[in-house]
Amino acid sequence: MTVLERYEPLVDDVAAFHEACERSLPAAVRVNTIKTTVDRAKTALEDAGIAFEGSPLPGLFRLPDDQPGANWPYVHGWLHGQEEVSALPATVLGPQPGERVWDACAAPGSKTTQLGALMEDTGLLVGTDNNMGRVSALRSNAERLGVTSLALTVEDSRNHSLKPFDGELYDRALVDAPCSCEGTVRKNPDVLAEWSYDQVAGTAGVQKGILGRAVQATREGGTVVYSTCTFAPEENEAVLDFVLEAESCRLVPFEIPLDATPGITEWAADELDEPMVFDPSVEHAKRIYPHHNDTGGFFCAKLEVTG
């Protein structure tokens, strides 16, 4: 069985799913509202002769003919290459200007800088990653995009320390977790060759630890968003199920401007001795498959901290 065949029982149209996974992903850019407006970015793209199309996500454009990078609006930090599903979790988290927000898996910074823009570059935005090289890439992106409200830490997010930040809890946290990444197959077909079930199981342990710490570090009534780019329920619904049991939080419903299916409550796979059964509220989470919106694959859940 191939990696993608593993997920056939979850999708409505198996042929369309495989066909979409084999197509390369169209380039997309997000307008960086810290440095410009959507209207000015449009004018700059038009002046540069770069074709663009609208997106269901506000402030994003699809570039049918070009890759972002070698044009004036990019050089000025007006644009950032970011595919549509990657722009979802920050909008679901919905940070407000002046809030305290933690991005627990921040590098290379597409979502971090988007959070900064949604916060109008005010408040406290903490970005954490455990890899120094990736944090350097994050710093470079944040500087190009003009984010000045960002503090960066290099540490294991499972043990994130609030000490440098007055020990106060966050209003919101984003856990865009490291994962098996099958959803990025349209950008990077190699992910399937690198896939192993051992890695799925190991990664799920890390994901549970990071999401648990994010819930602990967020105030009562605050919001935590969990997202991945894997289809594996072991890394999605199973992680939510674990944290619902271990921490004071609940899953809440939310709307997105893309077609999606609900999280699943049961999962049987060859690698499992018996089927997994999840808390019914995981249905509030959203699964996004490549053939539904011509995007990458994605998973996104929204939690409210209750204690």
Binding site: K35, R40, G69, R139, R144, G146, T148, S149, A151
Partner: protein, 167 residues
């Protein structure tokens, strides 16, 4: 370089009277420098704090934290001090340079492309020698691109290698 090793950020003292590290710039000096060199009013930086990491590199952060703080990044690098001529970063110039009203040089599209590629070019300029804010028209308005060094009728591109582009 020392500032790539240290992860300790020290907030700049308000004035020389509060200075504990001899060569460290003060907030007052930084504000005065931005105003004298580029005409950027101190009010622009009212809600920002300035921090030194290592020796001489100043970071600008939009907020307040207890000093010192031991983390990997705090806002963005803004300028290099502890040298005769302080030098702003490309990123700070892109972010705050539109507030400048002197020592700005506006380039044509063709010259702006050469500047962004890292080329030096001969050009006439009426203002001071030294570091200039380089602008060009983008979406119908002047927009700061980066820092140039002007001497002897020549504008040298200070665009860091990693930011250069052939446009």
């Amino acid at each position: 370089m020392s500032d790539d090793v240290s992860t300790r950020f020290d907030r700049l003292p308000e004035t020389a009277a509060e200075r504990t590290v001899e060569e460290r710039a003060t907030r007052a000096e930084v504000l005065e420098w931005f105003e004298e060199r580029f005409g950027i009013e101190p009010a622009v930086f009212e809600s920002y704090t300035f921090w030194e990491r290592g020796a001489g590199k100043i970071w600008i952060y939009h907020g307040e934290l207890d000093s010192p703080v031991d983390i990997e990044g705090l806002g963005m690098t803004a300028l290099r001090t502890r040298q005769e001529h302080w030098k702003p970063t490309l990123e700070a110039v892109q972010r705050f340079g539109h507030h400048a009203n002197r020592n700005r040089i506006h380039l044509t599209e063709e010259r702006a492309k050469r500047f962004m590629a890292g080329d030096d070019q001969e050009i006439e300029f009426e203002g001071d020698w030294g570091y200039l804010i380089v602008t060009h028209d983008l979406a119908g308005e002047p927009e700061p691109i980066g820092v140039g060094l002007y001497t002897y009728g020549e504008l040298r591109s200070m665009v860091p290698k990693g930011r250069r582009r052939e446009l």
